[in-house]
């Protein structure tokens, strides 16, 4: 197999024909594996700490491999707080965020890329600018906006009197629902697609929605897959906003739950690492499942001739 950097289409791989070819292949795999393992050292450390019996946590220098593997740490960690509830909340948050980001992001991204409507350039710049504002200074205004949301949570028409969107799914999910990052990515992706299919369909009289939904979006499978993974991860890992907008345990998410192990001067290392590992596993599964969709849905070879 050729180990050069030039991309080879995934479908075509030449089997090594010579002994030298095999040797190069083995060397390649070795190096790649070593590099990947080195990349994962912090994880290995995390998991090893999670499995440590208590006295070994206080050792310095720390031991990499625990003398016994305490799997019970994982069980105990999960019992330390209402993790099933947090898990459910994080899941809902991540799924809704993913669906909203991808759906509305694709629509808007496509509009910016192909349906160059009036005012699309300044609008796009505004969108980019949104990403540039540090969230620390919009936190309180956004919080107040949610608290004073008219006609929710006991508020009157002017938004006074109740708690608005605090401690509610609205407050948790809506402010972050649409992501400028997602719109930007879809715009770039749609820009790079050739126009033949789109123009043909348009001339044939298809509606814009049909063109988008039936022709362009299917071609964007890699972008959808990528963004789904990112959006899920961002929803899963979000911490500060859920912390601020929720006060009740029932609404809290996993990332907030993890902090139960971390106090100012006293950290329960094994449980923290165990819980963090468990919180990471769904993400890895989603990635493993989704990355197969990086392969394009429709090949371009059908376009020739």
């Amino acid at each position: 197999m050729d180990v050069s950097l030039a991309p080879r289409p995934v479908s075509r791989v030449a089997a090594p024909r010579t002994a030298l070819g095999t040797l190069r292949q083995i060397l390649f795999y070795l190096l790649l594996t070593a590099f990947a393992l080195a990349w994962m050292v912090p994880f290995i450390w995390m998991v090893s700490t999670a499995l440590k019996p208590e006295p070994e946590i206080y050792l310095f220098p720390p031991k990499l491999i625990p003398s016994t593997l305490v799997w019970a740490n994982f069980v105990k960690a999960m019992k330390a707080a209402a993790f099933p509830i947090y898990f459910r909340n994080s899941l809902v948050q991540a799924v809704v965020h993913t669906v909203a980001s991808v759906f509305f992001g694709a629509m808007a991204g496509y509009a910016f890329a192909r349906l160059k409507f009036r005012g699309h350039k300044p609008m796009f710049l505004l969108l980019l600018a949104k990403m540039m504002v540090p969230s620390q200074v919009t936190l309180i205004p956004l919080f107040l906006l949610c608290k004073n949301m008219p006609l929710f949570g006991g508020n009157d028409m002017l938004g006074h009197g109740g708690t608005g969107w605090l401690n509610s799914w609205w407050g948790l999910l809506v402010p972050g629902a649409i992501s400028a990052y997602s719109i930007f990515m879809f715009r770039q992706f749609f820009q790079s697609l050739p126009r033949e299919l789109e123009e043909a369909a348009r001339i044939d009289g298809a509606s814009e929605w049909r063109i988008f939904w039936g022709i362009m979006l299917p071609q964007a499978t890699p972008a959808v897959a990528t963004l789904s993974i990112f959006a899920f991860q961002s929803g899963w890992n979000s911490f500060l906003w859920p912390l601020v907008i929720t006060t009740k345990d029932q609404m809290r998410t996993i990332q907030i739950g993890l902090t139960v192990f971390r106090q100012d001067f006293n950290v329960q290392w094994a449980y923290l690492m165990a819980a963090t590992t468990l919180a990471t596993i769904p993400m890895i599964l989603i990635f493993l499942f989704g990355q197969r969709y990086f392969v394009k849905g429709i090949t371009m070879t059908g376009m020739k001739g």
Partner: protein
């Protein structure tokens, strides 16, 4: 059948079609626009307004004009933070992108356990910052950290990573590259799928070697993705906060404090929201200028040969 030219402009233009496109464009963008108007522009306007006051969340504050901005000019800490942020950004973004591109090229072929390799490089992105930052603190420990252990094993001198004003920022950069690489790699992977196979086939038939293919075909066609990563990478790097807060707290001797960190301190520790908002406005403007410069000089659209 309408023939699409290299620039993608249709040879025939239909009045009705243009209008439909315009309408559809606005409709597609409407949800995102609405969300933006409510949940982004309102908090941002409020924040900008606050920057002209000495408002504190605990109560009180009056209009003070541009005093906050004047104070910033002579605030040594602000300039240090700005410098640190720029240094961080200009190291992290290119290094991450180059390394990610390299890996994306390698992992774009049929390998055994391809999904696992990709997952190994993507994993850093999905773990909670807090736990992983602590693991890195361990790894960077002057006496017994893994990194110094490796350095000494190679015959080099141990480095006083997080406690040295010179090396603390490089340490943070290293950790950020480790963390961000996976996401960048994923985008390059997805973008590569958009490059039609027939281009490679044609080039090889014409006798092009690997390097020519990379520089003449792959890289130019990855331009939309590269542009996207550059802009979002820069924007994100200017907001780096969590890992610094946990690992160094902005030290040693303010060597790692960034603008986002300063904003956080001013807003939530000193409750000087007015000054924090002013710093945020300046940060946004700086990032905006850098982004616009990027947009002018970096190709953002792919040309089909």
């Amino acid at each position: 059948m309408a023939v699409a030219t290299a620039k993608g402009k249709p040879r025939y233009r239909y009045q009705g079609m243009e209008r439909t496109k315009q309408r559809a464009g606005l409709l597609f963008v409407a949800p995102a626009l609405l969300h933006f108007l409510i949940f982004t522009s309102i908090p941002v306007f409020v924040a900008v307004g606050i920057s002209f006051t000495n408002y504190s969340p605990l109560g009180g504050g009056k209009f003070i004009g541009i005093q906050n901005y004047i104070k910033m000019i002579s605030d040594e800490l602000f300039w240090t933070a700005l410098k640190n942020t720029l240094v961080y950004s200009f190291w992290t973004v290119p290094v991450t992108m180059a390394l990610a591109l390299f890996l994306a090229l390698i992992l774009n072929r049929k390998l055994r356990a391809l999904a696992w390799y990709r997952a190994a490089f993507y994993m850093p992105q999905v773990t909670a910052t807090v736990a992983i930052a602590v693991v890195w603190m361990w790894m960077f420990n002057n006496q017994f950290g893994v990194i110094n252990w490796v350095l000494e094993g190679m015959g080099l001198k141990a480095v006083e990573w997080l406690t040295s004003p010179t090396w603390a920022m490089p340490a943070i950069v290293i950790m950020s590259v480790w963390r961000g690489l996976g996401g960048t790699m994923v985008i390059f992977l997805a973008a590569q799928q958009g490059i039609p196979d027939y281009l490679y086939e044609a080039a090889r038939i014409d006798g092009a070697n690997d390097r020519q293919i990379f520089w003449r075909i792959t890289l130019p066609l990855l331009a939309p993705a590269t542009f996207f990563l550059l802009v979002t990478g820069l924007i994100g790097s200017f907001q780096v906060f969590d890992s610094i807060y946990v690992m160094t707290g902005g030290g040693p001797s303010h060597a790692t404090t960034t603008i986002a960190h300063q904003i956080y301190e001013q807003a939530f520790q000193f409750t000087k929201m007015g000054y924090a908002s002013a710093e945020a406005v300046v940060l946004t403007i700086v990032v905006f200028i850098i982004t616009v410069i990027n947009m002018k000089y970096v190709k953002s659209d792919a040309d089909y040969v």
